[in-house]
């Protein structure tokens, strides 16, 4: 055999969303959804999750849509791949943080395979699109036996690899709210080598009035078990003019607010140091002074 054999599982291939939900309820807790497979089919991951069944999305082409609706925002169906974000002109123009996360994401092959939803459902603190979505705000639409349920992205991740989604729910859509003409957003990540996962990533979404930031959302990854918002630092930024001095204060605040750890990608000390630096840079990038 020319590579490691995956553990055994059986396949479920629903042809409609209600059928998928019925299958998830019938085999509660024994099913994993298979989207692009770029996390699911990794040997280390599938061996830990040990699904009895993999539920394929191949029969659910109705989940393959990416639409920008003026006045509402961006809606991303569960089958949308990272590459599709790069091909949609409104994503680049109106949701720069998400576009920038997609363009640094993995490699061309993985971008052709991986879904945006899979990134959110994996619940990794290193998820790049997830980090951008946390800054932009938005909702995950879950479809279960009782119908549809919306969960705000702020409440979606509960622990490392664990989300608010229940075993009998299928995640069907991501919604990202419409930016105004004065919304500015950006994303930056640092990696050991390009195709590696982030050792730290950050995204901001700022509501600007001239040089004054009126509202801010700051999301940071790889500085705790889940992606976090830096709410104290956001408060320091809101209502303030963006000056060099303020950026220094924000950098110091970010360093205090996070709880990074040592792992194979970086040390706690290093992450704390660079958290301030990349926060400053991402704000400058968002408002166009970098």
């Amino acid at each position: 055999m020319s590579s490691r054999v995956l553990p055994q599982f059986d396949l479920l291939t629903p042809q409609s969303i209600p059928e998928a939900v019925a299958m998830l309820s019938q085999h509660q807790g024994q099913v994993s959804v298979l989207a692009g497979g770029t996390d699911m089919l990794l040997w280390n991951y599938i061996r830990k999750v040990k699904p009895t069944y993999l539920l394929r999305l191949s029969g659910l082409d109705e989940l393959d849509y990416l639409n920008y609706i003026p006045g509402e925002g961006l809606i991303i169906g569960a089958k949308v791949k990272i590459v599709q974000l790069l091909e949609h002109p409104d994503v680049a123009e109106k949701f720069p943080a998400l576009y920038q996360a997609a363009s640094t994401f993995a490699t061309p092959q993985i971008r052709n395979m991986a879904t945006v939803m899979g990134n959110v459902l994996r619940g990794s603190p290193a998820g790049d699109c997830s980090c951008a979505i946390l800054a932009l705000g938005g909702q995950v639409v879950l479809q279960g036996p009782q119908g549809e349920r919306l969960v705000g992205i702020d409440d979606f991740w509960v622990a490392y690899g664990v989300t608010e989604r229940k075993n009998d729910e299928l995640a069907v859509e991501l919604r990202i709210p419409e930016p105004t003409s004065t919304t500015r957003s950006a994303f930056i990540r640092m990696t050991r080598v390009h195709e590696d996962l982030a050792k730290i990533n950050v995204a901001v979404c700022l509501e600007m009035k001239q040089n004054t930031c009126q509202r801010a959302r700051i999301a940071m990854g790889c500085v705790g078990p889940i992606l976090v918002r830096l709410k104290q630092t956001e408060k320091l930024l809101e209502g303030q003019q963006i000056t060099g001095e303020l950026l220094e204060q924000l950098a110091a605040s970010a360093q205090e607010e996070i709880a990074p750890i040592d792992d194979q990608r970086s040390t706690e000390e290093y992450r704390r140091q660079v958290a301030g630096v990349i926060l400053r840079r991402v704000i400058e990038k968002a408002v166009g002074t970098h």
């Binding site: 055999m1 020319s2 590579s3 995956l6 089919l41 990794l42 191949s58 490699t107 061309p108």
Partner: protein
């Protein structure tokens, strides 16, 4: 063990076979269909050795794709690049530029090149380097591979004009 009768269309030919449902596309190609030109490097999506094309354009890692997920799609491996015993211009370009040393990365590099040029017939050097980000070569240092992609792009242009033989010779 759960098995399934699968039909995969590889290089324009349908293959029907029975295999365990946990077969990856890479394993199905190599072990069930004995099409061993597609290589196993890492099994984790990082090296690009297992790159194949889906429906002529889209490059994917066959090591992280289940074989069943490729049913109904057109899969192209490097074995499908040759026509009537003649090498494809991309293959000729790799040979002529000396972009091959041990050759282990070459099948993946050729398929990735095919997808770069199918989506963008005249890529800049930066676009070539970005396009090849997911393909690791431990021997050549990439310089000659980039030259080979540039040469292949020119040869494909010329082959539109020169219809008869001698392509790039």
């Amino acid at each position: 063990m759960k098995t399934k009768i699968m039909t995969l269309c590889v290089n324009g030919r349908d293959h029907r076979f029975e295999a365990p449902v946990n077969r990856t596309l890479l394993q199905a190609l190599r072990d069930d269909l004995k099409l061993t030109e597609t290589k196993y490097g890492c099994g984790t999506g990082e090296c690009g050795g297992c790159t194949v094309l889906m429906d002529g354009k889209e490059s994917i890692c066959s090591c992280l794709t289940l074989a069943v997920e490729a049913e109904g799609r057109h899969i192209t491996t490097v074995g499908g690049m040759t026509r009537d015993g003649e090498l494809h211009p991309i293959q000729i370009a790799f040979i002529e530029e000396g972009a091959i040393q041990c050759g282990y990365c070459t099948p993946g590099m050729i398929m990735k090149t095919a997808s770069i040029l199918a989506n963008n017939p005249h890529p800049s050097e930066d676009e070539i380097r970005e396009g090849l980000e997911g393909n690791i070569c431990r021997c050549t240092g990439y310089e000659k591979i980039v030259l080979a992609v540039q040469r292949a792009s020119q040869m494909l242009d010329n082959s539109q004009i020169q219809k008869s033989g001698g392509m790039g010779q």
